[in-house]
Amino acid sequence: MTSRTNTLLIRTPEGIVFSQLLAGPVTRCLAWLIDMVVIIAIAVGLGLATSFLGLVSEDFAQALATLLFFVTSIGYSMVLEWYWRGQTLGKRALRLRVMDAHGLRLHPSQIVIRNLLRFADMLPVFYFVGGLACLFSRHAQRLGDLAANTIVVRQPKITEPDLDKLLEGRFNSLRGHPHLEARLRQRVSANEASLALQALLRRDEMDPPARIELFAAMAAHFKEKSVYPADAVEGIADEQYVRNVVDVVFRPRVNRSAKKPDGTEPNPAGTASTVAPP
């Protein structure tokens, strides 16, 4: 387990570490607001549905409406978190999920306890106690989470980067130096690679001066990682240099000695085999 961060690291007995991104109080509050709107909508719907029973018995219709509202407000989160494996509509909309604090399977008893303890977290109003607990606890847990041994994690959508669209048909001069290319791959960290890719994907959203400044800084940074001879980088704009770096680190090199079945040489830029994440 980690110290206080927004990430929970879990080390398996096999020695593998995987991380879970913890959800903060603001995101959780937004998910709760969505759930509240849903609960109110369900309550209104049930109220309308039971009002027809009032034609038969007003007493029975009102009793049924009271009971259904109570059951919905208490059971909504319990039922959805069990059937959707830790998610309600609000959590699903914001990509949050309730999980066991040790990464194990979520038990029904944990779901019941964390939801029943909302009565304590809600005190005195608007989840004040729960929000404070969430702010100060090590793993952003409200009291219900602490008692049930659960955490709420963020699961951002993993999208496949559209490398073909970004890099297609462009000559990459860095490919001409395989040993430097390998060194670059080795020295660029996952975060740096991801940052460069995101910068390229969003480059059209930037103001021109900011765009020039950003890619100049990035190019200077990557040039320190692996020094290429002058002929390989001469006349290349900073943005093109970053594009070439992304091409090198994200896409595996094609075996240049192999020829295509039709006898032609493979694409010199090495764009033939794209690694598509699952």
Partner: protein
Amino acid sequence: MILDLDKFIHGERPFWSELERFLSRLEGDPDRALPLAEAQRLHYLYERASSDLGRIMTFSAEPEIRRYLESLVARAYGEIHETRSRQHRFSPLRWLLQTLPQTFRRQWRAFALALALTAGGTLFGGIAVMVDPEAKSIAIPFSNLHGDPSERVAQAEKATGDHLRGAKARGTAFYITNNTGVAFKTLAFGVTWGIGTIVMLFSTGVMLGAVSIDYILAGHTQFLIGWLLPHGSFEIPAILIAGQAGLMLGGALIGWGSRESMATRLRAISQDLVTLIAGVTLMLIWAGIIEAWFSQYHAPMLPYWAKIAFGCVEVVLLVAYFGWCGRSPKTGDSISRRKRESEERP
């Protein structure tokens, strides 16, 4: 360092997909028990994915694959390393006749403490009203009970016919939701190291003591017992059991004399808490029905002896249920306790 990432991914992807399909099947059917061959295959796929994750972590430029494998390993880890017993095919009858009463008896110390706290509150409330009748308005939060007991008894006994016609279903819903809400709070406030639960139990006792002594001093003991016993025989024990659960929660948080971590202590009682609070809910549904349809009718329409007899039968049945139901004639609860302990052991 993976030298040929492309080959690695294409070689491993079928195993990742198989593991993903496996996990989806398991998650879609939580009651499914895996045959040995399938369990071994799941373990193999998990170890293979773990190994792949370890290898991909050394390759800097594959954050997407790494995240995907992390999520896959995390899901499989939860399934493989879960050691808590998974109850297959929940049997309501077995739960009612064995699990609930056995759980209650296993945690009897917390119940005894809840009973003592409520009794202390009752004594305090009774003495407070006896010494200072003005205290009634503070000790009893319901304004309809602030008046003279004799006037209320006279009014109740004057009623003829079904004076609650057209209001009984609403009354039932109100009593059920209100009392269940109080019970849930009594449990939930246990998270304040038990202090909140203690306050709830003591204040319930104060209210009970104040009402009781008010009617007893006014000479309406028979009315009081006939009014409270039919539904109170379930309602008061239900609140006490909710207090029992709240005190268990507080005790697990404090962890006196325990060498286990707080998480382990909480994990050990979580199933018992849910069992007890589910039992409390059932008891309060029954109490709500009786309170609306039976307790509010008084003599001469419904003789007090009949109401008191009904309440006494309920008390006897409840004591018998929690005291002896699900107990083996020869070994008591020891078999189920041993079985449970072996299930909890990792």
